[in-house]
């Protein structure tokens, strides 16, 4: 069976870029993201959208109920400064060229530390729709 084809080339994300993270309203408290917003899926990374190919509004529109989601912005250079080894890679999907992933340890204290640090550099730029 042939490998699945990616419709878009994989690019290097520069430090000057930013990424958008969608955070469901259950992961927002008092108008700010909780650490639950920085949870990777399974053993994978944290899915985000690169601002080169997505606006905050487009990132939000990818949620099942867009208005139930806030959009968090993080600077790529800030993410890379958290710790040596943490990185963010472009992983385009056929339906989303902006899709990228922040690599996190799969578990343990190292993951806890990085989640705390991500929360510190995060800014909500689109709050939950009222």
């Amino acid at each position: 069976m042939a490998d699945a084809q990616v419709a878009f080339p994989i690019e290097v994300i520069p430090n000057e870029a930013a990424v958008f993270l969608r955070a469901h309203k259950t992961r927002i408290r008092d108008g700010l993201p909780t650490l639950s917003a920085f949870v990777p899926k399974g053993n994978g990374g944290l899915s985000v959208d690169w601002d080169k190919y997505s606006t905050p509004e487009e990132a939000r529109s990818r949620g099942k109920v867009p208005g139930d989601n806030a959009i968090i912005r993080m600077g790529v250079g800030d993410i890379r400064q958290i710790e040596e080894g943490i990185d963010i890679k472009h992983k385009p999907l056929s339906e989303n060229r902006a899709h990228s992933e922040i690599g996190l340890p799969s578990e343990g204290p190292a993951q806890a530390e990085i989640r705390v640090m991500l929360n510190r550099i995060a800014t909500i730029i689109l709050p939950i729709s009222m």
Binding site: H24, L35, K41
Partner: protein, 155 residues
């Protein structure tokens, strides 16, 4: 964001200065009930077994939340015996893979303890004072951890 403040009333004075986020309690040590902790637990219970509306994943199970509550009560009880006031109350929320996050974010320090859904695993923690002091490691969620208790007195 700040963690919930405790709601215990003051009964007596102590020479020990109440730390960031903590408050003195007014009930006997054996039956003190921290209203803020109870409120936070009630809030967390609403997420038991619920689907994350955006990701189709379960937040956490009753069993995992119970383990997190046991952990909090064990540390809180010992804390109050040692210092005669209530420790600060964390936010309780869903963590990765069905785990439970206990998150204290205070003006002077921050601490995350992650209680795993697999109760054979150790809990993970990370904390710092936004400066040079850090704690990081694993712990047994059913045992008193004096390092964590000490951290909760941080000023």
């Amino acid at each position: 964001m700040s963690s919930s403040g405790a709601a215990c009333a003051y009964e007596y004075e102590s020479d020990f200065e109440v730390p960031d986020g903590g408050t003195k309690c007014d009930q006997p040590a054996d039956n003190r009930v921290d209203d803020s902790l109870r409120t936070e637990i009630t809030r967390a219970e609403k997420l038991v077994g619920t689907l994350d509306a955006d990701e189709d994943s379960l937040a956490y199970s009753r069993e995992t939340l119970n383990l997190a509550i046991v952990f909090l009560r064990v540390q809180s009880s010992q804390f109050r015996k040692m210092y005669s006031f209530c420790p600060p109350v964390p936010h309780i929320g869903p963590g990765p893979n069905g785990s439970v996050d206990l998150h204290w974010k205070q003006n002077q320090w921050e601490l995350l303890i992650n209680i795993p859904s697999d109760n054979s695993q150790q809990a993970s923690f990370y904390g710092d004072d936004y400066g040079t002091q850090r704690i990081k490691g694993t712990l047994h969620p059913r045992k008193i951890n004096y390092g964590i208790i000490s951290w909760l007195t941080h000023k």
